[in-house]
Structures are given as structure tokens and as C-alpha cells.
């Protein structure tokens, strides 16, 4: 993590283009049929338990097993690779890009993700804090809890198979928690944002600066 952050440059970048460009890729191999065109508004999953699927983006058909893939984020469809319509694609092929308007909170999170050490999910599963870490968080709050290399910090739970997850990364305080107990996290998504205690003032400066300089929510 660098101590040198050019706030003006970062903020001007977000001011000139306050969007995330989210690539939607093929979930697996198969033949693709698009359900949206460029310029369409798309919605993320909704409902109290996110049980209402987002807007259908494309259908992928493998071995006569069609699967409808829905948007995970809201925004406007900025690119559709129409040349792939009806074609067989490999897993991971980029199909659609969604232009997602960023909120102030998301901008802060995006900047923090650049400066914090991100501890990522090893597998798609649900995660919760290890009992010891949980009790320390309940007593003092996450930002007062320091985690060390090799410490059992989380439990990964999948089909009632629990696996202790040991922290690997620089020693620091838990600044950001990116998972919610009971909500699945995909492989590679960040679980925790950690920073060295002496760097906390810098993080706070980023948050204050964005809050002050950014008008809309």
C-alpha cells in the first residue's frame, strides 16, 4: 500500500467518468443468444433476499441444457458482442458490458480497494468470522481488531462443510468487511480489506475527501 496518493487525480478520474464498466462473461461453454441490445436499462437482483433475478442478459445452451443468465448489477448495456449471436463460445468469453453508475459509497469503496490489502475468497461459498475474531469484533469493533499472518480469521461454509480460513497478507486492522453472513461470495471476490494500523489516518483522509468533494449520493 502506498502512502503517496494523488487525491486530485483519483477524484478527477471519477468526476469525468463516474461509472464502472462491468464485463459479463460466458459462465461456461455453449451457444449464446442475447436478450438485450445496446442502450437497454438492466436491473440487479432485488427483493429482501435478492430472490428476484436481475434482467435477463443472455441464454447459453450446452448439451440441450439452456440457462438464462441475469444481470448482477444495474446500469445501461454499453456493448453487446452481437457477432457472437448464435455462436459457440468458450467459458469466460466477454459477451456484454454494462455501464454501472457509481454512488458516492461505491466510489469510496473502489478507492479503498486500491489502497487496502484485499483478502479474497478461495472458493464460492458463504463466510463468517472465526469465533475468536467474532468475539473480538463484538467487543471492540472490526477496525480495532488486528489480524496476523497465519491467524484463523474466517470459516468458509459450503454444504455444511466448514473450512477454517487462515489469513495470509500483511498484518493489519480489519478496515472493510465485504461479505455478509449468509450471502454467497464468489471465488476471488474480496472478503476483507486490511491495512496497517499506522496507515488508518490515510484511509480516513480518503473517505473524508471523497465525502467532501462529491456532491451526489
Amino acid at each position: 500500500m502506498s502512502n503517496e496518493i494523488d487525491f486530485d487525480e483519483i477524484l478527477s478520474k471519477y468526476r469525468s467518468d463516474p461509472f464502472d464498466y462491468v464485463d459479463v462473461c460466458a459462465t461456461h461453454t455453449g451457444t449464446v443468444t442475447f436478450k438485450v441490445v445496446e442502450g437497454d436499462d438492466v436491473q440487479a437482483p432485488s427483493g429482501e433476499w435478492l430472490q428476484i433475478p436481475g434482467t435477463a442478459l443472455y441464454e447459453i445452451n450446452r448439451e440441450r441444457n439452456p440457462k438464462l443468465i441475469a444481470a448482477q448489477t444495474n446500469g445501461v448495456v454499453s456493448t453487446v458482442r452481437t457477432e457472437l449471436e448464435g455462436r459457440f463460445v468458450e467459458a469466460g468469453e466477454r459477451l456484454i458490458t454494462i455501464k454501472h453508475p457509481l454512488k458516492k459509497k461505491e466510489i469510496i469503496e473502489n478507492i479503498l480497494k486500491e489502497v487496502l490489502y484485499l483478502f479474497r475468497a478461495p472458493e464460492r461459498a458463504k463466510y463468517f468470522f472465526a469465533l475468536d475474531v467474532q468475539s473480538r469484533i463484538e467487543k471492540k469493533g472490526a477496525r480495532a481488531v488486528t489480524v496476523d499472518q497465519g491467524e484463523e480469521v474466517l470459516t468458509m461454509s459450503l454444504m455444511k462443510r466448514d473450512t477454517p480460513i487462515y489469513y495470509s497478507g500483511e498484518r493489519g486492522v480489519i478496515h472493510s468487511v465485504y461479505f455478509k453472513p449468509g450471502v454467497s461470495v464468489s471465488q476471488g471476490e474480496p472478503l476483507l480489506g486490511v491495512c496497517a494500523p499506522e496507515k488508518l489516518p490515510l484511509i480516513q483522509k480518503i473517505i473524508t475527501r471523497v465525502k467532501a468533494d462529491w456532491d451526489s449520493e
Binding site: W49, P53, E63, K126, S157, M159, K160, R161, P164
Partner: protein, 314 residues
Amino acid sequence: MIPPTLDATDMSSLSLTTDDIRRQSQQDLERRQQAGSKLDVEKIHRYGAFVGSVVERHRSLARAMDYCRELIAATEGSGRSVRSGTVVFADSLNRPRGRFDRVWHAPVGGLWGCLIHANTLLESSRRFVPLAVGVACCEAVRELGGTQAVLRWVNDVLVDGRKLAGFLVEGHTGPFYGEEYNLIGFGININNSCFPAELAGAAVSLAEVLGHPVDLNLFSQSFLAHLSFTLGLLYFAEDELLQEENQGQDWHPLLSRWRELSDSLGRQVVYGLDVMMKPQYQAFAADLSVDGGLILKFADGYEKIEHCGEIRYL
């Protein structure tokens, strides 16, 4: 080097040996062959033969899973590897616990222990290990006469709504070689019939269900023979899936058996990651997904698939 918690094994009331498990597995294989199973049961049997490769019996342990972790560390520390399929039994556990640090009562009379499985399964099969142990136990209970035994998603074994067995599967990485293990903890109420006040009415033993004491050795053999089959089935199904002609097949044979044994589907349930302390929502348990998730249907018609957590019936 032997872990410091090791007791003298000959003090245990169990006398089960590796040979007993092999003999029972062979009988189980012949029974399945006679029943005309469509699966290649001989191949499955071979895949699951590692179960019970070593049997340790103890009069008392603090926690069987902790002991297994110590055993792995001690064995690796001496330059060897723990044999996959090692089963550790204890007549009683002094500090048992369930998930989320829940109280678990493990006195003499029950079957308490842990199986060490060197995790050589693909990620897509690994998730079925908890289902495999539930199916094995439910089949063993039925085989000994507890025909009312059913499975509640994920793997609780119930009789008339009361819990007869619970399982805890934990991933563990060996400290020296980085080998990955599944520690399959089991707690099965067999002849123990006195439960603490907080479990009264919610727990039941097999002896209570059958109305007579149960031969613990006999049940252990049966349970491990079935577990040998269901874990073997995971390897067998992987093998089948990897054959080119089976790429389109997506329904796992273990899930078919789970559905036959379960009473969870078609019921109104409450769901939560820790459903006792933090129930999250109520829904209708519609079906299993192809990867073992529970398909829950809301009153408004929408569906959600859960891959972890637990349910209670309404």
C-alpha cells in the same frame, strides 16, 4: 510421535477392527449386487475401500476432531502421512461441540468419532461429502430396524422429528505437507438415552426407537460399510463424469439416494445460516439443485438456491 491425548485403545468398549469393516463392506456389496443395482457397485466398493483403513478406539477424548488434527500434525511431523480412511472412535467426548459452538452431549453409549479423509476429490464432488455421511448413517439406521429414519437437509438424521445423528465436516490442511483433509465428525445417539434438559424432546437414540439396546459394534460396522459405499460413489461419479459420453449427465447418483431418504422436500421451512440463533426467512423446500443446493420457493413465486446453512420444519 503419538499425540498426548491418546488413551489406551484396548480400554474402549468398542472392539471394531479394519477386518470387521471390510467383511461388512463385502456383505454390503453382495447385497447390492443381488438387489440388481444399475450402478457398477464393485467399482464403487473399490473406490470406497479406504474407509476404516486404520481404526483407533479410545475410552475418552476431548474432541475427536481436535485429536485428528493432532494426529495429522504428529504423523506428518515424524515424516509420514496419516492414512486416508483412518477412523477415530471415543466411548465419550469431554468437550464435544456442534456447529457455531453449539452444545453437543456425547456420553457413553453413543457412537462418537471422526473419519480422516485425504481430500482427493474435485471441488464439484467435495461439496457432497456432508450428504454422503448423512445418507450412510440413515441407511445404517434403517438397516438395523429404524425404518422411520429420514434426512433433513443437509444431513441431520431424524426419527419422528427428533435428531438421532448429526455430522460436522471440516476442511483441514496438514501443517507440514499442506495436504488437504476432510475431517468427518459424527455423533450418533445409539444406546445413550439421557439427554440434557435443552435437548429433551429434540433428541432420540436408536435404542429408544427400536425399544431394545443396540450392538454398538454391529452398528459401527454397518455405518462405516455404508459410508465406504457413499464416499466411493463420489469417486465413481467423478470417474463417470470424466468419461466423454457422460458429459451431458448432470444428476448425481448420491442426490437420487438422498432424495429417497429425505423428508425435507415439499415442506414449509425456516432457513438460516445459523437457524437456531438467526433464522432468516420462511420458504417452501421445492427440490434439490443438481449441485445439492436446496431450492427454496417464496410465497411470491420466486426461487432461491441455498448451498449452505440449515433448515427447520414449520
